[in-house]
Symmetry: C2
Subunit: 220 residues, 2 copies
């Protein structure tokens, strides 16, 4: 069993790779808010314990063992998020922080009860897929990042990045929830600002914000 810290490292590495990016020491350190030195240190330990493949200066990847732990933690995190929202009525922007803590202290027995209570849900409140007991992920519908969308097309939101609660609050404020339909009105070439329009009105989204929204095109 990895420690709390190690679980968070493995999850971070998994997510970096899943996003199609390099799991560099500095990106891990940045996400976990620790120094690069601390991350290097931990990568060495994780490697010794067989959770990651690590070669000095060459980056890191997960072994089967490490991937299993990462998926287990993601399962616990995402089930907690959904449970806290559905059952205990916590808000969309609150559940990530709470789940970040509870995830490490949740037994398999408990998480299976939660899974059962929720009737084996496939996605969390932010659209992220929930691995099943065996670590199998549900198939996701195709999506693109909003900053890669095209003008005058209609999209629906399938996933948002849940790491920043301020951002989530902003999404909620402008009526951007899961499955919200909206139209991309204009994309400014100068800075990539995207003008979108939904039931609530018209908004300008910066490219930084748009990168955190994942959408699927729908026909009018």
């Amino acid at each position: 069993m990895p420690t709390v810290s190690k679980e968070d490292y493995l999850k971070t590495i998994y997510q970096r790779i899943e996003e199609g990016e390099q799991a560099s020491t500095s990106s891990i350190a940045r996400t976990l808010k620790v120094s690069n030195a601390a991350a290097t240190d931990m990568l060495k330990k994780l490697s010794l314990q067989g959770f990651v493949n690590y070669k000095k200066y060459k980056g890191v990847s997960l072994t089967a063992k490490g991937r299993k732990e990462a998926l287990s933690l993601l399962r616990r995190h995402r089930l907690w998020e959904l449970f806290l929202m559905k059952v205990l009525k916590l808000k969309w922007d609150e559940v990530h922080k709470e789940a970040e803590l509870l995830e490490h202290k949740t037994s398999e027995k408990l998480i299976d009860k939660i899974d059962q209570y929720l009737n084996h849900p496939k996605f969390d409140p932010h659209g992220a897929p929930i691995p099943d007991k065996r670590g199998v992920l549900p198939k996701e519908k195709k999506f693109i990042r909003l900053d890669a969308a095209k003008e005058n097309k209609i999209y629906t939101i399938v996933k948002v990045n849940d790491k920043d609660d301020e951002l989530i609050r902003y999404f909620a404020e402008i009526g951007f929830k899961l499955n919200t339909k909206f139209e991309v009105k204009k994309i400014f070439n100068i800075d990539g600002t995207i003008t979108v329009k939904n039931k609530k009105g018209q908004f300008n989204l910066s490219p930084v914000v748009a990168k955190n929204i994942f959408v699927r095109e729908v026909r009018k």
Copy 2:
């Protein structure tokens, strides 16, 4: 905010004192399964931080600040126990262990939601009182320890010690739940064994077991 370890120390000290016993270094160490040296060490730190009154060789007591933290942790623990049983259907002997972990990672916001969901319950599944948001405990009905009961009287169970899951399983097995009515048939002077009789049948309880059951006399 005290650390996880410190919270557990404060809770242990509170409970030792509540039981009317001395919060000795060794009793704390025994409960927390650490060495006496570790406990001494921690008591010094807790004292420096104003959570306890501690004088070398003279034992320890809680300050107002320490008591507040202890009650806060007990609240989180006991609400979790009840929630896990009532909502997620964990068993009577399972909830203590789960709550022992979750208690430290539960925000005030979350515990208030749980409290609200359960409609501000006053007692946990083992009969222990749940402090309210302000740290106020509900009044408990008078009770005695079963090893102080008298022959040929009828009692009802108001509380059991939840620390040992094997013991809790045994209680369940012989039909000893909260509010179970039973009669004390005989108390053996030699070793203090108590013969009790309830709907399920007649059982001999050792004095060690009896010490963990709290009862109130009821008229036939």
